[in-house]
Amino acid sequence: MEENRKGKKKVPALPDLFTWGEDGVHLMSSHCGSCGTYFFPMYHEQHKPGCSRQGIEKVLLSKEGKLASYTTQYYMPPPPFKTDREITPYIVGLVEFPEGIQIAGIVVECKSDQLKIGMVMKTTTFTLYHDQEGEEMVTWAFQPAKVSESWNDPSGGRG
């Protein structure tokens, strides 16, 4: 996972948002022990009114959640969004994690007509671009947890 076929590293395009290891990719959150709220990004606190804000701990969210909504974007957004290849149309999904938080992310490894609200999605990574050293700059992404044979790469293998 940490090295691609050319032996170059995968690097998060921005830090402290997601991480990966032997058991897959996890979004990084923090949890307030007082009001019970999960935050994403973990450094953006959003407490319940009146909360003492005591006992905030960094946590990794579950790998899997349920698809709450999705859309296909047909136009390339302006900078600072940056990819080193054409990715439109691309899918953005909203995934509801068991911790009680919905998080948006790019959806990969499927077509939009194969998506259904409520289906199980797992967290993965998506390569946005390569930096000058050839390292893959990645973001978090989601894909259906049970991949059937008919699913194709939306980037046509260019990813």
Partner: protein
């Protein structure tokens, strides 16, 4: 509401469109000059200026009120510039209103101007730690319409909203825009034209999301006692409120990448908050409103706002639209101006423009798009990051 009663005595508008050869000062001066003429009042009588911050205008844009005042002649009055995203104009208006209610001054100017950058609006800083707007652009590539599409698809799943329902909003509003000289888009669309327009982010098509435009609008307010000196048709402000979001609102708000999964507050809680405050303060409820300008940033907004602001129960907006209840001549005329659909967004200016439209309706000045016997009107905004404004007006 205790304090003095306030009326709007003058409205002025620079038409909406794209004016790349003009500056924000050009547009603002035009709107202010028209409002002064409409109120038949001299510049020197203005006792405060509450101006919307023009975020794309650098130092000048952040001090828009001072720049505009210098053109007409500086008089030493309090000038305050405010920014609350799409509720910027509503915030300027509320401040002008409260300045008079409090008794500090008698005559106020509220102004909003915007020249939008080309295409999608984008991030204004590069620090993801303090501005999560950077994250949504860099990590997910999420222009504003994606947020609307995600909520729209949830609505389709929950209430069975169809593509035809979404297209119907544009068809109706285009008929009004065609009759409004200040609108940017004046073409009347058929259902088929809307349904075959380009997909932007499904289920929302090109004609179902608003454009970004340039425009300016100004309002002159004064005490009800003095209003008759200037106009035979003062329009009274029954409420001018601002709302913010409520913890537990499940809406994925623009710029955010997360939202609570479990709803512990209403969808679009900031707009629920501002409209509820306005109903409480004015004693006027949705059932009394004859004309409503709501923020139709997309067809989804048109439907959702009817419910958020209490004009129909949850899941009934499509039926209301289909049955003609929201038409001019129906139970409540919704966006008889043509809405954002015909104007496009001009962030700092749009809330003031909505109020100006309602004022003209209540004065009976809207010609072919006039709502007959309109006595009570409401202007409702939407705003990025959980802020919103409501204005209720009485003839």
């Amino acid at each position: 509401m205790t304090g003095r009663e306030v009326a709007i005595i003058g409205v002025g508008m620079h038409p909406w469109g794209k004016f790349s050869q003009k500056s924000f000062v050009d547009l603002g001066v035009d709107a202010i000059a028209k409002a002064l003429a409409d109120a038949n009042i001299e510049w020197k009588k203005i006792e405060t200026i509450c101006s919307g911050i023009y975020i794309w205008g650098g130092n000048a844009g952040h001090l828009s009120g001072q720049y505009l005042a210098s053109v007409f002649g500086e008089t030493g009055i309090p000038i305050v510039n405010v920014y609350n995203a799409c509720a910027t104009g509503a915030s300027a208006l509320r401040l002008a209103y409260l300045s008079i209610v409090s008794g500090q001054i008698d005559v106020a100017l509220a102004i909003g101007v915007d020249l939008s950058p080309e295409g999608f609006l984008t991030a204004k800083s590069d620090n993801p730690r303090q501005d999560r707007d950077v994250l949504r652009w860099r990590m997910v590539g999420m222009p504003n319409p994606i947020y609307w599409a995600l909520e729209c698809r949830k609505r389709m799943q929950k209430f069975g909203t169809t593509e035809v329902d979404l297209a119907r909003v544009k068809v109706l509003l285009s008929q009004y825009g065609a009759k409004n000289p200040n609108a940017r888009y004046k073409k009347v669309y058929t259902l088929e034209e809307v349904l075959t327009s380009k997909m932007v982010c499904d289920p929302l098509r090109l004609y179902e999301v608003c454009a970004t435009s340039d425009g300016a609008a100004a309002l002159i307010l004064c005490t009800v006692d003095k209003a008759r000196q200037y106009t035979s048709k003062p329009i009274t402000i029954a409420a001018s409120t601002i709302g913010s979001a409520i913890y537990g609102d499940p809406t994925l708000r623009i710029s955010a990448l997360s939202a609570p999964a479990k709803a512990e507050a209403p969808l679009l809680s900031e707009s629920y908050s501002s409209s509820q405050q306005a109903y409480r303060l004015s004693g006027i409820g949705p059932e009394h409103i004859d004309v409503l300008e709501l923020p139709d940033n997309s067809s989804w907004h048109y439907l959702q706002y009817l419910e958020t602001c209490g004009f129909c129960p949850e899941g009934q907006a499509e039926r209301m639209l289909q049955d003609g209840e929201t038409r001019i001549g129906g139970r409540i005329a919704v966006c008889p101006s043509g809405g954002f659909s015909s104007f496009g967004e001009a962030i700092g200016a749009q809330a003031i423009w909505q109020v100006a439209e309602v004022v003209m309706q209540l004065r009976g000045q809207c010609g072919p798009r006039q709502v007959e016997k309109a006595k009570v009107g409401m202007a409702q905004t939407y705003g990025l990051m959980g802020n919103s404004g409501t204005t209720i007006l009485k003839a």
